[in-house]
């Protein structure tokens, strides 16, 4: 990584957890789809400036949980607060402004295949009728952040899987969201491309300090987030000194719809829960 982001002023004073009320708060949330519960009595929160990593094997309800955060799915029971507003039973039309304040990176990127990269990244700005010249400038800045400026006029079909994911990150970042949701951002990618994606997420965390929730089944990704910081001087992420971890990055773990762990990396590796130990092994 060689570029520093230019499409927004980086936050010089990180707002670490504990300073204000949570950005997201789940209380006893359950959901099922014509069968056993996919999520059962889940409670957790995401504080301002905090990065939470939701771990668990495939099929335990991680993506469902992420879609509950911005109201793409509705819970059967429980309370979900987003930006201090109860959204569990909020009408769809009132949810759109709240969703516009969040950025979401989908598992496969979910780019609009009939639109160019420029129009994909600018989608939200186009809807807000931002002038074309400003759109072009902000899209180029966002693409520069993910190091894909040359893809400006291309269609998603001509991009590789990793490039699509990076464009999706640019799309999520362009409107400077107050919360970022990553759904398995490295799923199905080769190790090198996965590291590139993780470096972008570390860069976003350390430059803008946007609170985020990242879903992954890869413990390596979680460790990269915890053990690295982005060095703006060097323009790349660097390993933290031995024994140090990022204080704002904490973990959640799901097992068959139930939240079985909520804590720091230190607590995670010391956990005696057999499922956690098996997952980490």
């Amino acid at each position: 990584m060689s570029h520093t982001p230019a499409f927004a002023q980086p936050d010089q004073d990180p707002n670490l957890p504990g300073d204000a009320g949570p950005v997201v708060a789940f209380r006893n949330v359950s959901i099922s789809f014509n069968g056993p519960p996919v999520l059962d009595d889940v409670s957790f929160s995401v504080a301002p400036g905090e990065t939470r990593v939701l771990l668990g094997p495939a099929g335990v309800g991680k993506s469902v949980l992420l879609k509950l955060v911005n109201g793409l799915l509705r819970p059967d029971a429980g309370s979900i607060r987003l930006f201090d507003q109860e959204i569990a039973s909020m009408p769809e039309e009132r949810l759109f402004p709240l969703r516009a304040r969040t950025g979401m990176v989908f598992q496969e990127g979910a780019l609009f295949d009939s639109l160019t990269v420029r129009d994909n990244v600018a989608y939200q700005l186009i809807q807000e009728r931002v002038p074309d010249s400003e759109i072009d400038r902000r899209v180029r800045d966002a693409l520069r952040f993910v190091e894909l400026e040359e893809t400006f006029g291309l269609y998603p079909a001509s991009l590789s899987g990793g490039m699509r994911r990076r464009v999706a990150i640019a799309r999520a970042l362009i409107s400077q969201p107050e919360l970022l949701l990553y759904d398995s951002p490295t799923g199905g990618l080769d190790p090198l491309t996965s590291t590139t994606i993780m470096e972008l997420i570390v860069k976003e965390r350390d430059v803008y300090h946007t609170p985020s929730l990242m879903v992954t089944h890869r413990i390596q990704d979680a460790l990269i987030l915890c053990n690295h910081r982005f060095d703006q001087g060097l323009g790349r992420m660097v390993l933290l000194p031995k024994g140090q971890t990022d204080p704002g990055t904490t973990f959640l773990m799901l097992e068959e719809g139930r939240l079985i762990f909520d804590g720091t990396l230190h607590e995670l590796v010391k956990s005696q829960n057999p499922f956690v130990r098996e997952f980490l092994a």
């Binding site: 769809e92 759109f96 979401m104 496969e108 979910a110 780019l111 609009f112």
Partner: protein
Amino acid sequence: MAIRMIENYAKNIVLTVQDYSLFAARAFTNLYRPPIYWPEFLMQADIIGVGSLLIVILSGVSTGGVLALQSAATLSSFGATAVTGQFVALTMIRELGPVLTGVMVSGRNASSMASELGSMVVTEQIDAMRALGVDPMRKLVTPRIAASITMLLFLTIVADACGIFGGGLVTVFMNHQNGTQYLDMAWEHLRYPDIIQGLVKPLFFGYILGSIGCFYGMRTTGGTQGVGRSTIQAVVWSSVLIIFVDFMLTQLLLTLFPPL
């Protein structure tokens, strides 16, 4: 076991009807509430209207021709071949123009809407749109329904004209009758209620084909196989509903405008 299956099947039908009613009602109210996405409306109008023009012209000319052939054969036994023009024009304008156009356009566009929206659902593009704060009902569904209603009206008029033209060709070149007489009979016996009947129906049929195509597309599940299933259901149910609603509308319109 069998009873349980029948029960589940019946519940699914009731649930689908309920979901469609809510979907159709929401789509209908969106037609009159801002924001209205005019560029999307114009693009869909082009796809549905201009794109379907050729099949509507061909089917209209052929249907009018067949009507003229069949009616002349039957009417000749009563010595009434002179009323072929009246028969073709009234049948095309009141019934076959709207219904045939509705079914043809439904086959082409309800399927296209269901497969396009279905693909967007299974690749999470619809969720991405919602996550970006844009309502897919307003952005994708409403322009398609509005364009279906508008363009089906004009396509029906084209089909009616082509049908009468096709009937005229057969009358003159195959049945060797007088073309002026054909046109005179077609014109003289045409009343405003006939035209109203012919122009009210495509408004309903356009709404049906647009809403059914979008409904099945938006509720697609099960990956690419699901897209195929949605496409089939959209074509089948829009065609069946068009024919069923035609029956109901004809009954209603004949009550409102009784024949002389």
